[in-house]
């Protein structure tokens, strides 16, 4: 971790998305750690506390994203977690995450669509960081 810089953990199994998000966040002035699976993220979390985490919902198993978020919040309850999903509202049925009620039981602080604009993402991150 670089002293003085906010460190964001990005977890996504799409390596291109991971690379692009890392670049975007670094351009915004954040420091980043990346993980391409729930497993890798858990290893990182054992030795590091990020200031914020951005997690993709669909990874190696259907519930990887959920389990990871649960574990992050258990270990570091004050670390804000953003869930990013590409399976946005249009598709409806498939994944339980689309059900508003299920969203309540998931510990994320914010749900965002993967297509979100950089400036909006930045302001959402800053808003969450300020809360703490």
């Amino acid at each position: 971790m670089i002293p003085g810089k906010i460190t964001i953990l990005i977890v996504d199994d799409d390596m291109d998305y991971l690379f692009q998000t890392k670049m975007k966040l670094e351009q915004m002035g954040f420091s980043t750690i990346t993980a391409d699976s729930q497993r890798e993220a858990e290893l990182i979390l054992e030795r590091t506390r990020p200031d914020l985490a951005i997690v993709d919902l669909m990874m190696e198993n259907e519930d990887s994203g959920f389990i990871l978020i649960y574990k992050i919040k258990k270990k570091y309850p004050d670390v804000p977690v953003i869930i990013l999903t590409a399976v946005a509202a249009e598709t409806g049925i498939t994944f339980d995450i689309q059900d508003e009620n299920n969203r309540k039981w998931i510990k994320a602080d914010l749900f965002l669509d993967k297509g979100i604009r950089s400036d909006v993402l930045k302001s959402e991150i800053e808003r969450l960081l300020q809360k703490n």
């Binding site: 692009q20 590409a86 249009e90 598709t91 409806g92 049925i93 994944f95 508003e100 993967k114």
Partner: protein, 377 residues
Amino acid sequence: MSTLKILVIDDEPGIRSGVSRILRNFRVDYPFMEEAFDFAVFEAPTGEAGIEIIENNRPDILLLDNKLPGIQGIEVLEYVRKKQYNIIVVMITSYASLELAVKATSDGASDFIPKPFTPQELRSSIENITKKIFLKKMTATLKDTGKHIQFQFLSVLSHELKAPLNAIEGYLKMAKEHQLGEKIEDYNAIFDRSLDRIHGMRTLILDLLDLTKVESGKAQRNIINTDLIQAIRAAIDAIQPYSIQRDIRINLHGPDQLIMKADTNEMDIIFNNLISNAIKYNKEGGSVDISIGEEEGMIRISVVDTGIGMTETEMGKLFQDFVRIRNEKTKNITGSGLGLSIVKKLAENYGGTIEVTSIPDQGSTFIVSLPNEKSCL
């Protein structure tokens, strides 16, 4: 336009008229929904009056205050639950206690809106509930026609296609903004990644075409005397550049000829998928042994590789649409996730089966068994 009936049970007239006013001209629709919804609001000042309206009008949604003059809101909720009416209940409460929330939720309340609520908050909640109702309806209809699987399939498919498009778009934007500097060579890596993702999409689309042909049952099937040995040899030739690149030997054991009444294209699909998997998931310098034989009217083709293998859990997921095994070892292996599901469907179309056994780090064996209807001359 469909109209949903909303009943609001609250002893405060201001709340009741507020709800009517807020929802009177409210419409919910969103892009892929073919229906739009508006609302008819019914009002009741007490639980008792509310129950009467429930009996006579069967509302779709119930906005329920807990604190009522006669029977309490929670009792109305229990009533609805006991009668098993298909009503979505939203508790509007001026004080929310955890105990109440837990009780109400276990009795079937879907949502809570604490009073005072803004028009936007009410509309938001109603909108979500409407979508839920719509989806429930859709699911029921689709299940009846047996198409729910298709719908789910399309959802996953759209995700599988969106991901590479987003990746490629992201890279193009990076290039456009010169984010990696002014030298074009410095962009080679992201151009290569974009091309890789495009290749992936193409594979996915081709596999999808195979799958739809198989699924539809309307495919132009040309059942003729097909020499399976020739088909296997063609599949081996097709994969040769890749097998050479990975230094993998392919051995074929079987008779010089084996005729089966089959569609040649379908046999090609089966062999191409099994053999390309055997190479993809293999270790450098490994081997693939293909054996084919016929015994008592059953043709058995086995494809044995010396590859990374799979665990029991991984094997369990294997033949489903879009499933690819993802772990440390498969990180750099690409694929649509449709190959094996297509092979399985094809085998089953012939009245056959596909089985797999595997040992992690040692390799996997796939066996396809097909009954042979003897060729007629």
